[in-house]
Amino acid sequence: MNQTLVSYLSQYEFYDSLIGLFGKHQGILTFFIYLLFAAIIVGLCATIGGLGTYAERKISADIQQRIGPNRVGPYGILQFLADGVKMITKEDVMPFTADKFLFYLAPMLALVGVFATLAVLPWSSGFIMADLNVGIFYLIAISSLVGVSVFLGGYASNSKWSMLGGMRWASQIISYEIPVTISVLSITLLAGGMSFGTILSQQVGTPIHWFIFHNPFAFIAFFVYFIGALAETNRAPFDLPEAESELVSGYHTEYTGMRFGFFALAEYIEVFVVCGVGAALFLGGGNLPFNITIDIIPLQLVQVGIFMTKALLLYYVVIWVRWTFPRLRVDQLMSICWKYLTPIAIFNLVGNAVWMVLFNGKSVADLLFGGH
C-alpha cells in the first residue's frame, strides 16, 4: 500500500493527541498536515532555487577568477532576494501580438510541473509526501509538463527567437527522455519496484551498497542518467534552447518581470529535483550509514541533511559542468542522444537484467564480501 507522510506520523504519540483534538474530523487534520508540509517543501525548494542562482553566479565567478556578487548581505548571499524584489517590481510587458492566454499559462504550467514532482521526492524515509508505488514513473511523467510549458511559452511570444528556442527544447526533451527513462528503468529492475521507499530500502548500509556500485552496468547507467538529466533540464552544454549567442535568450526572450522569474525558478528547482532523484536512485538517498534502524524524528532530520548534501553536491557538479564545457551544436546534441546515449542505455538495461539472472540479484559487494 502507498505509504504517506500522514501514515508515517501516525505511529507517534503526539499524533494521537492531535486526533483527539480534531475528534471525528480526521480528514481536516490530514488535509492540514499535507498543506503544512506542502508549504514547507515548496518554500524550501523556492529558496533552494533562489540560492541556486546565487550559487551559479558565485561558482561561475570562482571558475572564471572573478569575485561575483558580494554587496548584498554577507558574501552577497542575499543577492537572490534583491533579484526577486527587482523582478516583482518590474513592469509586466507582453508583446502586442502575443497569444495572451498561452502567454499567461506557460510560466504557471512550468511551475506546476516542477512543484508536482516534489510530492514524491524522498527527503528521508519518513518525510516523503506520498511514497506512491509508481513514484519514479509519476515523477518522469509529470515533469513532462515543463516541456509543454516551454514549448507554449515559445509559441505564444510570437517571436522568432522564442519560437526556435521552444521547438529546440521540446525536441530535446522528448529525445533525452528516452535514455533517462531507460536508465531509471534499469534501477527499477534492480530494486524490484518503482516507489522511492522500495528503491531506498535496497541501498542501506555502506556506500558499496548504493545502486551505483551494484554492478558495472548500473555504474554506467548513472552517468547516462546524469548526462540526460542535464539535457532535460536545459543546462549547459545542452542549453541550446536559450543559446544566448544565437537566440537572444530562447523561449523566455519576451518574458519580463515575475513571469521570467517563474521560468528561471522552475528551471533551478528542476535541476535540484533531478539531482535529488539521482541521489535517491543511485547514491543511497538519505539512508543513514550502517543500517541504523532506530526511527526517531531527529534521525529523520539527519536523513534530510544527508539527502540534501548528496543532491547539492550533484547540483555543484551541474554548475561546474555548465561553466567548463562549450555548448554543443544541434546536430551534435541529437547524435549524442540517439547514436550514443540511447544504445548505451538499452545495453545497460539488458546488462542489468542478465546480471540479475546470473548472480541472483546480488551486487558486486555482496559477491565480494558476502551478505544479504
Binding site: N133, V134, F137, S144, G147, F151, L152, E177
Partner: protein
C-alpha cells in the same frame, strides 16, 4: 469524501476541457484544452485506484501525444494555409445550424438514456474488481499479467511498435538522389 471531491474535480476538468476543445476557434488553444481533458481522465483513473494507468496516461498523452500534436499543428501551417492552398477561403464550413444541433442533442440524449438503462443492471451486478491480496499493488499485478498470462500479446505489440518505428524512420529519411 476525498475520492468524491477528486472525482468531481477530474470529471469537471475532463468534460469542461472537452467542450472547450470543441468550441475554441484557435487550434493551439484546442490542443491545450485537450491536455487538460487528458489530465482529467488521468484523475478519473486515479479515483478508480488504477494509479499505474493514471500515470501512464499522463506520461503518454502529456509527454508525448500533446507535444506531437503541437508540433504537427505548427509545422503544417494552420487553417489559412490549407484554405489558401485549396482555394477554400470563401467557403467557411460550419458545424451546422440550430436544427441540426437540436436533432443531434435529441438523438444523443435518447442514446445516452437507453445505454444507461441497458447497462445499469450490469453495473450493479459487477462492482469494481479489487485486486487480490497476493499482490501488494496494481503495479505488480500488471507486471505479473504482462509477463505471464499475456506475454504473447505483449511481445507482439512490441514487435508492431518496433515495425512502426522503423517504418517512420525509413519514410522520414531523405531520399538518395
Amino acid at each position: 469524501m476525498f475520492v468524491q471531491v477528486l472525482f468531481l474535480l477530474s470529471a469537471t476538468l475532463t468534460i469542461g476541457c472537452a467542450i472547450a476543445v470543441a468550441v475554441t476557434k484557435n487550434i493551439m488553444h484546442s490542443c491545450i484544452f485537450l491536455l487538460g481533458s487528458l489530465i482529467g481522465v488521468a484523475g478519473l483513473y486515479a479515483t478508480l485506484g488504477a494509479d499505474f494507468v493514471a500515470v501512464t496516461q499522463i506520461m503518454v498523452y502529456v509527454g508525448g501525444i500533446v507535444i506531437l500534436m503541437l508540433f504537427a499543428v505548427m509545422l503544417t501551417g494552420g487553417k489559412d494555409f490549407i484554405s489558401r492552398a485549396h482555394n477554400l477561403l470563401g467557403l467557411t464550413p460550419t458545424m451546422g445550424n440550430k436544427w441540426t444541433y437540436g436533432v443531434g442533442l435529441f438523438v444523443g440524449a435518447v442514446f445516452l438514456l437507453t445505454n444507461i438503462k441497458l447497462f445499469s443492471n450490469i453495473m450493479k451486478a459487477y462492482p469494481a474488481k479489487t485486486f487480490g491480496s497476493e499482490f501488494p499493488s496494481t503495479v505488480s499485478q500488471i507486471g505479473h499479467l504482462l509477463v505471464k498470462e499475456h506475454v504473447l500479446a505483449f511481445e507482439i505489440s512490441s514487435v508492431l511498435l518496433l515495425g512502426a518505428l522503423v517504418g517512420a524512420a525509413i519514410i522520414a529519411r531523405p531520399r538518395k538522389q
